[in-house]
């Protein structure tokens, strides 16, 4: 079942490549159609997991391990647990939505959709791989379509943004590669099986554990991105086409935190405890720094991009609170919720940009009177982003604060709470400037309301945001056993 999540998009990519270049609509609809089965399967697996496997921390839907390259002990080994299942569903959902949102792409359509499907295959692969080598391959495979998607279809500084993204991530990956090799050769018998390495990793000598942890941390921190490794993110986000930004914020950033939860934390518990204060501190810096920089942005998309830095900071804060199940659960909630909310915000910014061809906050005003539906949805997600109770952002932030307050330095968490206030400040300022106030009829009189296709892309995200906000219990139950087990692993 898990393999199909990877290979259906891959087969779809080949299918799209075989279509004639000028059949633009055929290419668009084929791609969306191809992304539906992974979406359905990922939700069906989530349901199956909820019903049958949620009570245990063991891997479900396991495939393999089958030998792939026997000489290097590389295996094809897939599985999913409470950490990966919700992220798979998120990936499935956002992929279909992003493909739908890409219909506006009008040049080199075939290449665009082919790369997009390759990207989807890579993302799914990262979340299900249980063999280190396989994980690394999917991790890297994703970079190539991303490089092309930003570089060919991006904004004015696309070449700079694309290569910066590529180099930054590759720089992180090479540290991961060294660490994988060291783990491989220190494990007896040599293995790349993550499940076995989680068992043996905690027995590494102290220094080696710290070194390996640090190497993995660099790789994942660049992806999250943790301050001070975040500088690729605003460039990539601003230059990338809308749908790519959605995937970047919604799924790719989660890979960093997923890697930490899946690999670094259970594998190097001693190192995590050793560094926990500093990890949390980096989180707090990201929260405050991201929020302050967001406040100063003139460009709508940049504002959302920097708010991502701030929101992912909450995840890092929670990850610093090693011993608290609540904080880690909050971290998972924040990953999902940020994926939904920020994904939607990027979609909405894209909707406005398609019509107005500018994203500068200062040139708008009073859009609420002209575009009531659009403005309503945008305000809804702005509220969700600033953590209004009743929406998913509140649930996750609340859990993180409660969990980390008990586990970490209270002053530090206190400072982090300020981030919520700052978040409200930049979001409300944006809402005020764009949607309230005087409407410039002569300039923006021609703007049209959000259309049906665009509504289809954001409404599911609204539903999930509200659902998690109002009734978080099912999602919590989905992950609980896995996360409790994770905390016991970290307490070793």
């Amino acid at each position: 079942m898990l393999s199909s999540l990877i290979f259906i998009p891959l087969a779809g990519m080949l299918l799209v490549m075989m279509l004639p270049k000028n059949a633009k609509w055929a290419i668009r609809w084929t791609s969306v159609a191809v992304s539906i089965p992974p979406l359905v399967i990922s939700f069906w697996l989530t349901w199956q997991f909820f019903v049958n496997h949620a009570s245990s921390a063991a891997m479900a839907f396991v495939e393999g391990p089958y030998d792939w390259i026997p000489l290097l002990n590389v295996q094809y080994y897939l599985g999913a647990d409470g950490i990966s299942i919700p992220l798979l569903a998120l990936t499935g959902l956002l992929s279909t939505i992003s493909l739908l949102a890409s219909f506006g792409i009008d040049k080199r359509v075939k290449e665009y959709f082919a790369f997009f499907l390759l990207l989807e295959a890579g993302m799914m692969g990262v979340f299900v791989a249980l063999d280190f080598f396989l994980f690394y391959i999917f991790w890297e495979v994703m970079l190539v379509p991303m490089y092309f998607l930003i570089g060919v279809w991006g904004g004015p500084r696309k070449e700079y943004a694309a290569i910066k993204f590529f180099l930054y991530t590759l720089f992180g990956s090479i540290f991961m590669l060294v660490s994988i090799l060291i783990l491989y050769f220190t494990a007896e018998p040599h293995t790349l099986n993550m499940m076995e390495l989680i068992q043996s990793g905690s027995t590494l000598p102290h220094t080696l554990q710290l070194v390996c942890f640090a190497f993995f941390f660099i790789a994942f921190a660049i992806k999250v991105p943790v301050w001070p490794f975040h500088t690729w993110l605003p460039d990539a986000h601003v230059e990338a086409p809308t749908a790519v930004s959605v995937i970047l914020a919604g799924v790719l950033l989660k890979m960093g935190t997923y890697g930490m939860l899946r690999i670094s934390w259970p594998m190097f518990p001693e190192a995590v405890r050793y560094f926990s204060f500093w990890i949390a501190l980096l989180g707090v810096i990201a929260i405050i720094y991201g929020a302050l920089v967001s406040m100063a942005q003139k460009d709508l998309k940049k504002l959302v991009a920097y708010s991502s830095v701030s929101h992912m900071g909450y995840c890092m804060l929670a990850l610093g609170a090693v011993t608290s199940v609540q904080a880690i659960t909050g971290c998972m909630f924040q990953m999902i919720s940020h994926g939904l909310i920020t994904g939607a915000l990027f979609l909405l910014v894209g909707v406005l940009y398609d019509r107005a061809h500018t994203r500068e906050i200062a040139v708008f005003g009073g859009l609420g009177s002209k575009l009531p539906v659009y403005s309503g949805i945008m305000v809804f997600f702005s509220m969700a982003s600033l953590g209004l109770p009743g929406m998913s952002g509140f649930v996750s932030e609340f859990m993180i604060f409660v969990g980390s307050f008990a586990a970490l330095n209270k002053v530090m968490v206190g400072i982090a709470v300020l981030g919520v206030v700052l978040g409200a400040a930049y979001m409300l300022r944006m809402v005020q400037n764009v949607f309230l106030g005087e409407f410039n009829l002569s300039k923006w009189g021609g703007l049209t309301e959000i259309n049906f296709r665009e509504l289809v892309t954001v409404v599911p995200l609204m539903v999930f945001t509200l659902w998690i906000g109002l009734y978080p219990k099912p999602l919590n139950e989905l992950m609980q056993a896995t996360l409790e087990h994770l905390v016991t692993l970290m307490a070793r």
Partner: protein, 502 residues
Amino acid sequence: MDFQLPHVDFRVMAPELFLFAWALVVITFDLGTKRRSGSATGYVALLGLVITGVILSITPEGAGFGAMFYNDAGSLFFKVIFLGAAFMAIGSSFGIMERKIQHHRGEFLGLILLSTVGMMFLASSNELLSLYIGLELTTIPLFVCAAFFKDNRLSVEAGIKYLIVGAMSSALLLYGISFLYGLSGTTDLLQMRVNIATTHLTFREIGLLPMLSVVLLVAGLGFKLALPPFHQWAPDVYEGAPTPVAAFLSVGSKAAGLVAFAKIMINGLQVFYEDIMAPNDWGLLVGILAGAAMVWGNVAAVRQTNIKRMLAFSSIAQAGYIMIGMLALNDIGLSSVSFYMFTYLFANMGAFAIVAIFEDKTGSTQIKSYSGLARTSPFYAASMSVFMLSLAGIPPLAGFFAKYYVFAAAIKMAGSNEIHQWLYWLVGVGLITSVFALYYYANVIKTMYFTPDESPYKLPLSLPGSAVVLIGLVGVILFGLMPGPVMDFASAIPAAFGLIAP
């Protein structure tokens, strides 16, 4: 003392003998048709390589002329690489044969085939003098090939430069070999290992002489492999030489240098690597050169605007990566080197084939003239991107597995013993510089894909050239997804060199 004739068995040398004869056939064929053979000569040469491959597959393993000529897993593996490189180089030279050297096809192809014979001979020789002869037979035809455009200033310069550097490096090598002979009393590599092993304690007393011979050997082979500081010839020669010749130099000639290095340094001087000689270990010396190759090759490549010069610096850097595996010297080190060379064959020959086709069409080798190629020639642009990504080591392409294997070998060795810990640093240098490498490889992709304008050129699909690109493409992807069988084959090589898992 009775003089015994060595055991002679021509069967083990059959592929070399056949290819040698075929090279003469190719030259005669072109002469016989009064230079009007057209592209038929090229196909005859390709056919010869295929037949040689078939003969190679049925050639028995074992010794041929005493201990001089020896067929083992290692020589078989490298002979496949040499034949592949010659095949792809000839396949991509149909363009220049039609336009620039239409009156000298026979000589051109014959020389490439003769050079291939030299490489194959080298891969099988287990004795210093025959090894040296093999190396000379490899390079001397290539001096001529490099200068083949005789009314082109750059090409002539390339030929002269390569000749002088080649002669110089051969002299250094020969000088080093003479010292080795003096120290061990034999030119047979296996016997030399034994002799040195029994007398190496006294070696420490003489100290200077073994060191001098090692330095001379490293310098001589360093020229062949273009390891800094012996690399300056490479960019100029690659730029000036006909593109298929540059391709053949970068793969075939490099692989030949590697074989020679492995034969002399590992097979002959293996004991030098044991603890007793650790302080003046040649490994560290070569390690420094390899590190310099990766740093200088990758940094200098970033600034190149000519794609042939860029590929020249890239090949200098790639030699550095290959040497990491060589220096690991454990049970997987040499197999990682062989596998690396195998994947490099497809990626680099494929890339050069596209450069050759582009040059035939447009006359330009500037990277910026590739701008917008993705719109007009999607097959070539996509293939070029795949080759660049494979050279940069992005999975799941073959180049990634090669890099991984090489690094794995080095890390395994570094972890096994205190005195090998410097290998960690070498791997570190390799990893950091591979980020630089991505920049200039991606730059080619950027040029082809990211501009909105269409390229004014449309590259035609033509038979031998496109087929070479396709072979490269299939190789890079296939051996990326399924590296297992080739790795298994390569894993038999270290045992043939007496390197067995401890």
